[in-house]
Subunit: 326 residues, 2 copies
């Protein structure tokens, strides 16, 4: 049984890498970019290149699913890169292949706002995938850079699933029916993604949880059971959105970037602008065992628990990170 988390954005440190090991986490998809330009993104890759040397007893670079097996065999965690915004490719479709070569495996077509490719979930209007967006999806399909629509608006997400020749992902979100947050996904959106063979990772970020920081493990796991029942267990995994050790200035940067001189609270509010506290049962990489047990407690068998905790993502990584074959 693999244990894979398909979204984290920590303030990385040796302690967190050690927790990944102590928590038995085989692979993590880490966000390396929210709003950065291409050159700023290169600096992020470079930082990780240094960490892979400095902490080579704990982590290794993940480029294919096989790297996850190498990680298990050597008691390490494979780190896969992703972007929450297409800003690294700027207005240049040729940069899709360049960032894939540098290690990017997921790219959101939009963050909260309109991008050159698609619409974000905080815009009033969602015109769907743009002219450039159609071209970029085709290019992402070709090289094996997965379309991630976690922060995108509904129509854009549905169109992306339809346009993409390969499965797409919502790496970190929950069903809107369970908790009607702007970032959670309505049934027609989840259906479009899974009908295309795609996957969704369940988020543990409090704004995405029913009851927020007070959400219970039971409620979370029952939501997983309901989603698996409705759409099929093969389409789900974990994308915890864990943002460990980050100062609140980081969540402000995530929301505001450099697109406004004002302030935007995103999922927060003026009275609660910072990172919300995690539920006590999921605060670090040590806590995946809680979710595993919770899934058993709501009736999943061992194969299903394994599928959700990592086996589904392993299969998805194996099928979608290489060049298009047909």
């Amino acid at each position: 049984m693999y244990r894979i988390d398909c979204l984290q954005f920590a303030n990385w440190s040796e302690r967190i890498f050690r927790e990944m090991r102590d928590g038995g986490v085989d692979a993590v998809h880490v966000t390396i970019v929210y709003h950065e330009t291409f050159q700023e993104t290169v600096a992020k890759f470079s930082q990780w290149n240094r960490w892979f040397v400095d902490y080579d007893e704990l982590i290794l670079r993940g480029e294919t699913a096989a790297d996850i097996d190498t990680a298990r065999a050597t008691n390490r965690t494979a780190i896969f890169f992703g972007f929450q915004n297409p800003s690294p490719i700027e207005a240049d479709i040729d940069l899709v292949e360049i960032v894939h070569k540098l290690g990017a495996r997921f790219m959101q077509l939009s963050y909260n706002n309109q991008s050159l490719l698609a619409t974000g979930c905080y815009e009033d209007e969602d015109p769907g995938i743009t002219r450039m967006g159609r071209e970029v999806i085709r290019e992402m399909n070709r090289v094996g850079l997965v379309v991630d629509m976690s922060h995108s608006a509904d129509r854009s997400t549905i169109e992306a699933a339809e346009i993409s020749d390969r499965p797409i992902a919502i790496t970190h979100a929950n069903p809107h029916v369970w908790h009607p947050a702007l970032r959670n996904k309505r049934p027609e959106v989840i259906k479009a993604v899974v009908d295309n063979g795609g996957m969704m990772g369940f988020s543990l970020y409090p704004h995405h949880l029913a009851g927020k920081s007070d959400c219970t493990l039971e409620s979370f796991c029952q939501m997983v059971a309901d989603a698996a029942e409705t759409y099929g267990v093969a389409h789900f995994g974990i994308g915890s959105d864990l943002c460990q050790d980050q100062p609140d200035s980081i969540v402000e940067y995530m929301r505001v970037g450099r697109w406004t001189k004002g302030i935007d609270y995103g999922e927060g509010s003026a009275s609660a602008p910072g990172f919300p506290p995690q539920p006590t049962w999921f605060e670090t990489n040590l806590h995946f065992t809680n979710i595993e047990q919770g899934l058993r407690d709501v009736g999943f068998d061992e194969t299903e628990v394994g599928a959700i905790m990592g086996d589904n993502w392993y299969r998805f990584f194996a099928e979608n990170f290489g060049p298009q074959t047909s």
Copy 2:
């Protein structure tokens, strides 16, 4: 009577600068960017910095309307900078003030495609001004960088006129009612711009002309008369879109940039992909006298001819290139 052309994109050379002088052109708004990043844009400013030294007997840097008077007094042409795409500010609102400081005076909120700010006229859908677009318009108003919607879609243009606290411009286009090209402007779009105190420059680019390369001077000038009659002569000038001495590879770059690996013919077609030939009565900066005479011939008096040939743009430049005062 001023003679001002509010859009040219030539393959600049001493010969063309001399033709500006021989044609009595006091000021030209030149496009320096179609799709360039910020750093590529800086290189364009730098190139002009060199030309202002190398050809200082012919041209000078235009930053305010007063520079046009300096140009006239010293028998030179004032060059004002503009962008046909907001790509130079990337995703960074602070770059608005930076590019203004470097000399930019017009910036289109979109070229043919969706941008981070607004929609281009070749997209199927036009959701209007984006969240970032609203912020950037406010910042452009503050510093005195004029919103240009020449290539934008209708709803985006109307919303930009409404959102902007200062007049906006369509620097180069014609009324759709005269020639129903995608790039020409429908009545409700022109009305929104002029109601906001804005201006439109009449284009001499053949794809924007009734009869294209065969358009007659009479037809063009009658169109000007009709527009002046409908909306008021104070709202119009010339924005010739003259692209002298450019190879056809340039029009391909203008259309395709780096947003697709395929080809897009824009206003052209597979059988006629290049720059179309200019009408014989407007091929160079020597030919503004033809338009001037043509305007007299359709009944404009001298004051009106002066207004259209440059006095209106002079007033617009004087009012809109400095910091917002209220």
